[in-house]
Each structure stands twice: as C-alpha cells, then as structure tokens.
Symmetry: C2
Subunit: 434 residues, 2 copies
C-alpha cells in the first residue's frame, strides 16, 4: 500500500488547469477515495508562461520527456491533444512503467492498436473517460456498468458544436452560417470548425466507443461520415412542421443481421424520442445491451469543468489501484482480437428518408421524380412543396419527400437518377430518419 | 491473487434466476473482468421447489444461515427483498467476513446506519447498484463517476409503476384506476400497489441516493412524500393542453440556501425538458455537480434482466477486488458523519403551482378564490375552466389556476382557506411545477 501517488499533468490549457482546480477543491474527498495522497509532481505546458494554480511544490517544464521519464511519476495525465507529441508522450510513459489518463480522442481513435498493445505488454492501464462525451460518464458505464451485457448498438449525439448549431437553426430560424457564427461567439466552435461540422470529431468518438464495446479496434476510416454543412434553415423548418422531428448529428454503431456498421450523419429524430430534448451543447449516448435494453446518459459534452470532472474520475479509479499495488494486473480494455467481425455496408441499411429535390417548376417534373422512385422500389409516404420558398428568390422549387422504410441502395440510386434530370437544379439533400 | 471467488446467491426469484442466467451467458467476459473464476457455491431459495438454471455443482438450500456462514463463501448476493430475514442475513454476512451485493432498497434505506457501520467495522464492502433505478447505473455514476464534484441536487423519476400509470393516463386518456389495471396486467404493478403509487418506493430510493451523495444517512421518514392517487385524467389532459407539460412523480434531493430538502411528489414537467420523454416503465435520474453541471442517466428502472445486469455489474467490481485481495481496504461509501447538515422545510420552497379547485358555479366564487390568493401574496399566471367537465356529471365546476413562482407556505395557506369556503365541494388538488 503506497500512501502517495505521483502525477505528471501534461498540458495546462483549459482542461489541465480545470483538473488542477478540482484536485485542489475536492482534495479531501478525492484522496479518501484513492486511499492515498495525490501529489502533482510536474505540470508540463507548451509555453513558458507561468501557469495559474501552481505553487512551488509543483515543477513546471516545457520538456515533456523530462516529466514523463521522471522515475517518481506513477501516472501521466495527457491533455496535450492532437497526435504529436501526445503519441510519443503516451508510448514513452507506458514503456517507462507509467499508467496513463488521456482525454485525447484523435490519438486514441487513430492509434488504439499501438496504445492498447503497449499497455497490455507493459501491464499498464490507460483510462480515457474524458475522450468521449466530456463530463458524461459513458466510458465507465459501457466498460464496467454494462459488463454483464452484449452491447449491440450505440447511438450518440457526440458533438456539442453541431448540436448547438442545429438547435439554434431550429429555435431561432438561423441559417447554417449564422448559427455557426453564434457558436463561435459563445465558444462552442473553433476558428476552424471543419473538424466538428464535417462529423470527424463524432466519428473519432464512435470509433473509441465501438472499439471498447467490441474489443477490437474500429478505425475512424471505417466510420461512414457525413457532416451538417448541406442542411439549410428550410430543411430544419420543414422537418419540424411537416414531420414533427428534430435534426441531430448522430453517431451510430450497430450490429445488424448483415454485420456491424458505423456511421455519422444528420438524422431526423421524432419529438417523442429521448434525444429530441438534447439541446445546444449537450451530448447524449444510448447504449443497447441484451440485458438492460437501452441506457441513455446525457450531459455537457464539453467545457472546462465537465471535461476536468471526467479526468478526475479516471485519476481516482487509476490511482486507487496504483496505491493498492494492483494497477495493471487486469487490463482495463478487454481485447477480443481473435473474434472475426462481419461488417455491413451502408447500402444495406433500411430506414425512412427525407429528400429535398430542387427542381424547375415544369409540368411533368413530379411525375418523373415519382417515376424514378417507383422504378427503384422506393415507396413514398408523403410529398410536399414549401410555400415559403418562393419569397426567397431561389432558383427552382423545393420538392420535399418522406419515404417509407426503404433500402439505402435503392434510395441512393433514385437520388442519383433524380440529380441527372435536366429539371433538377441542385444536388438533392438526403437525410435519414431514426 | 485468488483464482476463484465463491458466491452465495440468496433469493432465487425473478432477479436471482436472471443473475444466474447472465453469469452463465457472459461467463467469459465477466470472468475476464474479475480476473478469477466465479463459482456459485449456494443458491438459497425460500421454497424447496427445484430452481431452474441449477446444476449439480451448486448447493441448494432454504436455510440462509447455512449458505451465508459457509467459510468458503467470499461474497453474498442478497436478493430476498424486504426487511427480514434480509437484515439478519446481511449483518451475519458482514460479521463473518463476507462482502455483500444487495438489490434491497427497503433494507438499505431503513438500516443504512447499521449496515454501513458494520461494513466499516469489519472492512467489508456493500454494493447496491440494483437497489435504485434497476438497470440504470446511477449508484456507480454518483459514487465514482462524479467523485470530483460536490453534488448539490438529485432529481429522479425513480418509480416505473407510477411513470407507467401517468404515461398511460396521458396517452390513452385513461382514468387512474384504468391505468393501474393496465399496469397490473402488464406486470408493472403488484397486486397491492400502494407501496409504489403512494411514493414510498421512490422515497426509499432517494433516501439511498441522498445518503450516498451526502455521506450521512437520510432516512425515508425525512423525505416528504406524496403519491399520485389524487390525480385525475382531467388534470393530465388540462396540464398537457393548457400548459404544455407532462406530469411525472419526481424524487428530489436538493441543497437550497435554507438547507437540504428531500421530497417525492407529482410534478409538472415542461415538454422541452429532458424528462418529458421518459415514458412508461423507464426511469431517469439527473445528478447536479458543481463541475459537470447536470448529468442524466436513463433506462429501464425495473425488470428481470435490467436489474440482474446491475447485480452483475456489482459482482464484477466487488469480486475483482476480492480476487486481488484489496476488497475492503477502502470503504465503498464515504462517511461524512462529522459534518453538520442543515435542513429546509417544504414550506420554504418556491415554485409554480397548479391548483384545481372544484367549486359550486355560483356568482362571486371566482372573486373569493382570487381574493384569498391575493391576501396570501400568491400571484396568478392564468385561470381556466374545463369546458369538457360539465358532460361528466360531476358536482361543481373545476377552476384551474397556474401561479407564478410563490412560496409554498403561502400557497398552502391559500389552499386551506379555499377548501374552507362553503362553495368548495372537494379538496383542492395542488401540483408543483419543475
């Protein structure tokens, strides 16, 4: 039994300083759960600027290697973000016998195999609650709370930026660009928001949750990924009024009869669904297990203290094991690399589709479009025109279609044929319904 | 490091057999997380009837003492329910050095002090995920996931029976009695449902969550408790249409400026609130911490496999520590008995109120009622009559009032005065809004 566990806090930005703040504020409670004193030996920041919350007991350095290889350090908390030097830092930590807490979704999703293999080889633990869902304790729930289940589906609103934009577009009838500006102003979008709005962030997070649930690395490149940049205020308004749905960027991992499929795309959510009220910067994740059916966890997906709270939770679990001398005797992530996985193609899924075709207002156009859908065996629930559209001076008229449940391959083939019609003036918008 | 952990499964009803079923089905996954073989030594049932899922390796007995005091047993899983013999069983287990998993909310809420003190004295662990929220991993989230927080509020839909009844009343315009019958038919209500519909079950669960969050025993008797039997189909319909709200039985533990307050009562939930779509037998719990803000967990609050899944989760956490020899070195529940708690009275809360006054249709009645509210400084948002009521042949007419935010004491005093009016024909229904 050790009575002190030594930490190196790598990265001292928003989350790093929040973590140190919580470690101070809740020292007594946290240490009573760890069963030992927690001692921050090093804070490593990338600039020489004097960081707040530091006192003279804590060494400050810009040289990550110095902190990570310090033989007194038991646990390295990686909050640098990005791939390098985070990857070198984490692999060096594991090779020199340190356990790791990380909030780095890009690193984990892209180098899951390397990191988990090293952790396994050196019998070290890697905890990563803060990498998915900010303050939402989903990694713990999935890995431990539902361990008596076979998890066959994960559906999440995993990106706060896009959820904020879509909520603002609906609530305030903003255009995509206006909502994005608002998100930047409120600190919910970065200067270059492409990572979020194109769905890449959500794809990385669903890659991590899937790898954990399945026990094998699911690469971000295996996740079909669509962003939200093609969605217009018009779509949000029509979907709300015609179909009583909200639009959310969903990340989905699902075992279908044809195999596993991983995807991120904007999705119509009926207003009676628990996700319907997940608004603005909030995240929500539903886990489906054979025993519990569905469990949903909801909370702030980002932000300084929510994310720091998740880091603290990892520090408690990990340092308790370090204090007791059991850390690494059992792996945190179970590897089931021996099992052969089957994968499904996006073209094999079945769901309902929202289509917005923008077409010249010529006689016979509607019959051509419905004819194409009929040829491809796509059955239609309803067809609408947008009465408000003409005022906007757009070219052509929007034709809104909601299909019954259909095969994706057939719907995609129809859309390609519709987009080849001379009367179609812009690319048809296709959204799936949950 | 032990390579086998021995269990005694006490109680072999719905959850007991479900637990054994999951232990079999997910044996490989569960044991890899425990790091040892799990061996069910005993199954204790209250009847001699041969139980299913048993093989000849497992001893079957109706004598709980024989199983619990078997020196080979490491962990006792208490699924008897009720107070006795469950209390003797748990205390005997702790005194003879066994760790305990229990799903027993009545036992824990009523004897929290005795059980936790014994666990502490004998350095044993008591895990109880299944006692609150069925398959919803809220105990773990509260105790460990949010350990870096000071939790100042817990709000939950903790009782599946009442939530099912209220959902059915709304969706199908059923009376309370009709909805209760439906709940019984579907297995969501017991033959004697008073425990659920009077809020006692929810009060016991909020007692457990509060005791855990605060670190001191909050007795069920400290929870102000109102059930749902006075709610009529009329209330549900009017609240839905006039105020765009749903009615849910909420359990609330909250630290207000005047102190902690614990209460269970039916509550108006605005339709944009995340709880609005928690329907039928589902439960949801929101935890408010100073770092994470709010985290909500949602899932099936009862049922054979969801509850068994929670028991399995406890077995994994606990038996992993038993296998490693560290179980009990740190307590699972942190006791903060030294801290002096301040309590608030129900009369001190402030919220909006829904009042349904049933009154004779005499001239001047409305002015008397509004006069009484005015005298008590209760400000009114809107007053309505129920146009559909006259067809029902009820005595008097219902007057529906929604107040602004007011002090509970003033609203209660007004209601007492209104109920003393000769024109008032039945007790006024008072519901609070979230």
């Amino acid at each position: 039994m050790k009575n002190q566990v030594n930490l190196a806090l790598m990265g001292f930005g928003v989350v790093g300083s929040g973590t140190l703040q919580l470690l101070r504020q809740h020292k007594r409670n946290i240490e009573s759960r760890v069963g030992a004193r927690l001692n921050v030996l090093w804070v490593c920041s990338r600039t020489k600027k004097k960081a707040p919350y530091l006192n003279r007991d804590i060494g400050q350095t810009t040289n990550w290697r110095k902190a990570v290889t310090d033989p007194r350090v038991d646990c390295v908390v990686e909050l640098f973000g990005g791939i390098q030097p985070a990857l070198s830092l984490v692999t060096t930590a594991l090779k020199t016998g340190k356990h790791v807490v990380t909030a780095n979704k890009a690193l984990l999703s892209k180098h899951w195999d390397v990191i988990m293999a090293l952790a396994h080889k050196h019998m070290r633990l890697v905890y990563f609650e803060a990498s998915v869902g900010g303050g939402v304790p989903v990694v713990q729930a999935l890995n431990e709370g539902l361990a008596g289940n076979r998890v066959f589906k994960i559906i999440g609103i995993l990106n706060g930026t896009t959820n904020f934009i879509l909520t603002q577009m609906e609530d305030r009838a903003l255009s995509f660009d206006e909502a994005l500006e608002e998100a930047k102003k409120r600190g919910f979008a970065e200067a270059d928001p492409s990572f979020d709005i194109e769905g890449i962030d959500a794809a990385q997070k669903v890659s991590i949750l899937s790898s954990l649930a399945i026990g094998q690395w699911i690469k971000p490149s295996q996740v079909h990924c669509e962003g939200i940049t093609h969605i217009q205020a018009q779509d949000i308004r029509l979907i709300r009024h015609l179909f009583k749905c909200h639009v959310k960027l969903l990340a989905i991992a699902e075992k279908r009869s044809t195999g596993w499929i991983f995807r991120v795309h904007p999705t119509l959510i009926p207003e009676s669904h628990p996700f319907a009220n997940v608004r603005n910067e909030y995240n929500a994740i539903s886990l489906y297990g054979n025993a519990v059916d569905d469990v949903m966890i909801y909370g702030k997906g980002a932000g300084r203290l929510p994310t720091s709270s998740a880091v603290i939770s990892d520090i408690i679990f990990l340092c308790r094991q370090i204090a007791m001398g059991t850390a690494g005797q059992l792996p945190y992530v179970t590897s089931l690399n021996g099992e052969r996985l089957h994968f499904s193609k996006l073209s094999q899924i079945r769901c309902r589709y929202y289509l917005r075709v923008r077409s010249l207002d010529h006689p016979g156009v509607l019959s051509k479009i419905t004819g194409i859908l009929g040829e491809h065996h796509v059955s239609i629930d309803s067809i609408h025109q947008d009465a408000q559209d003409k005022q906007n001076g757009n070219k052509g008229v929007p034709i809104i279609l909601l299909t019954h449940e259909n095969l994706e391959a057939n719907v995609q083939a129809s859309v390609r044929a519709i987009d080849r019609l001379p009367s179609t003036v812009s690319k048809t918008v296709l959204l799936r319904m949950l």
